[in-house]
């Protein structure tokens, strides 16, 4: 059997026996077909024959796309997302669609209609979210790399919890065409991989202007060119607001050790302040909920998706379908968003949050005048237990404290493994200024080459 076809069989064999529940939909047939073509030399490209898993909120032509929601039961899109089209063009072997928090609303992948995904390092724990399926699939060798989406940390959080690399690109760098929107003004598709090189390669393929997305920025760069082992003269800012209270001591220590390591490798570091950080979480949730309440209005069972029971008048029917089709977290967010946008509250919540967003963005702009990159914990803790936050949504929201400021400001960030707490991986994020992906990739790559945290979970 030919090389690539064989690797596809291997991956699907592993998936078949997997306990992770990383995928919602598999496409073995399509994967084998592409792999066969690569073997035969009919398909080539920068990702030729490499297995890539795609988060289920990214539209795939002819392949079930559910967003982890019951409401999209049976939905088979008639078109490919731009990022998927780019994967295909470069010869990627798409293995299937990965599990996620319903509509990307979550930090644990527990809210999926298709059941929670498990963390490969500890099956009793969450893989992080919302791109938990992608994180677990990469860590668990069920694909070589994966696409996630990051609205408030949804790529970096599972990267951190699963011990892999994840990039949240600058807003506008990667096309959102075909990405089922949760919060349009915050989210970007990002690569996830077991090392920085693969992540940079995947970013090379998906980044670049797309005229179908009005928020896509014309910007050219080659990220793999920046896989350079050199941090000499680099100034690393350490934002004090990301450390201390609320952050697990072991996480705090691991991140500081990483900063020391980079210092040894020739970089300088200095403590800096992003004074509005503590307001980021509220601002983020208000904006995300408002946008979500509008984005999710289209799911009514008329054109696609779930349709149940006998029809009453349209409002009653739609309300029942949406009640049945949406999970609790989704209902909570669209209702709060509806409330926050309604008359009399728009100024108090939405507009206020957008003003806070300005201040947070300005914090980053100011700080990047004096430093090249920022280093901070990706998550304040390691992966938590499945069900740990089940009864308290607010406590789950708090876990996003270190990731959301980046989305509000639109700047890029990469999360890489930087140690362990017991057997659970810890992640450090390097944050850059607008379109500074080259700098954060170089920093992460240099750090990765000089450390030993790129491990496989036990038993893999």
């Amino acid at each position: 059997m030919a090389l690539y076809e064989e690797s596809v069989h291997k991956a699907f064999d592993r998936i078949k026996h997997s306990k992770l529940n990383a995928y919602i939909t598999l496409d073995k047939e399509g994967a084998l077909e592409t792999a066969g073509k690569v073997d035969d030399g009919k398909v080539s490209g920068r990702l030729a024959g490499m297995t890539v898993a795609v988060k289920d909120c990214i539209t795939t032509k002819g392949l079930l796309t559910t967003c982890g929601s019951k409401i999209l039961s049976g939905y088979v899109p008639p078109f490919d997302a731009e990022v998927v089209a780019r994967l295909r063009k470069e010869g990627a072997v798409i293995t299937g669609k990965t599990n996620m928090d319903e509509f990307a609303m979550g930090t644990s992948t527990e809210s999926s209609y298709y059941g929670p995904t498990k963390n490969p390092w500890d099956l009793t724990r969450v893989p992080g979210g919302s791109s938990g399926g992608s994180g677990a699939a990469v860590a668990g060798l069920e694909c070589r790399m994966a696409l996630g989406t990051d609205t408030g940390g949804s790529v970096r959080c599972p990267a951190s919890f699963c011990g892999v690399v994840g990039i949240k690109p600058t807003y506008g760098l990667v096309s959102r065409y075909g990405v089922i929107a949760y919060a349009n003004s915050l989210e970007q598709v990002g690569p996830m991989a077991r090392n920085v090189s693969d992540a940079a390669l995947l970013l090379d393929v998906i980044a670049g202007h797309d005229p179908k997305d009005s928020t896509s920025v014309p910007h050219d760069a080659c990220y793999t060119d920046h896989l350079v082992e050199d941090v000499k003269g680099l100034t690393i800012g350490v934002p004090k607001e990301y450390f201390g209270e609320g952050t697990d001591k072991k996480v705090d220590n691991a991140v500081w050790s990483a900063i020391m390591k980079l210092d040894k490798l020739g970089a300088d570091y200095k403590e800096v302040s992003l004074p509005h950080t503590k307001y980021a979480l509220s601002a983020y949730y208000i904006i995300a909920m408002c946008e979500a309440s509008s984005n999710l209005a289209r799911f009514d069972g008329l054109r696609y998706g779930l349709r149940i029971g006998k029809d009453e008048n349209w409002h009653t029917t739609f309300s029942r379908i949406r009640a049945e089709g949406f999970g609790e977290e989704v209902k909570r967010r669209i209702m709060l968003g509806t409330y926050a946008l309604s008359e009399g509250y728009y100024g108090k919540y939405y507009l206020k949050a957008l003003k806070v967003r300005t201040l947070i963005k300005q914090d980053f702009e100011k700080v990047f005048k004096g430093v090249d990159v920022l280093a901070a914990p990706t998550m304040p803790t390691t992966a938590f237990k499945i069900g740990e936050h089940a009864d308290d949504p607010l406590s789950m929201y708090m876990a996003d404290i270190d990731t959301v400021p980046v989305n509000l400001a639109g700047v890029p960030s990469i999360s890489v493994p930087c140690g362990f707490a017991g057997k659970l991986p810890i992640g450090i994020q390097f944050i850059g200024g607008f379109f500074d992906e080259p700098k954060i990739i170089r920093t992460a790559h240099t750090y990765e080459l000089n450390t030993d945290f790129q491990k496989l979970p036990e038993g893999f």
């Binding site: 939905y75 779930l306 029917t317 209902k331 709060l336 201040l359």
Partner: protein
């Protein structure tokens, strides 16, 4: 409490979601604690601060007035749970 069960019912109707009584009560409680948390923004003076709708300062993004091939009718209707004579079939209006 800032948000009553009645408020939740009104929001649910606006958001087009049918909720049972237990859900209404639970949401009312949760909304209050979440909105209480959001109150921390009230402490931040944002007078004179412009809101940021888009982080990237793009403007004037257009397409040319060119027509492309539409989806074939069967593709357009393919995902519809109910359709008839080429139309999507929906619940009655009144």
């Amino acid at each position: 409490m800032a948000i009553s069960v009645k408020d939740v019912q009104h929001i649910a109707s606006l958001a087009c979601v049918d909720l049972n009584e237990t859900e209404q009560e639970r949401f009312a409680k949760q909304f209050n604690s979440i909105l209480e948390y959001f109150k921390e923004l009230d402490g931040l003076n944002t007078e004179g601060v412009e809101p940021t709708y888009h982080v990237i300062g793009l403007n004037n993004v257009f397409r040319e007035d060119d027509a492309y091939e539409p989806l074939p009718q069967e593709e357009a209707l393919k995902n519809a749970p109910r359709h008839e004579k080429g139309y999507f079939k929906g619940p009655r209006i009144v």
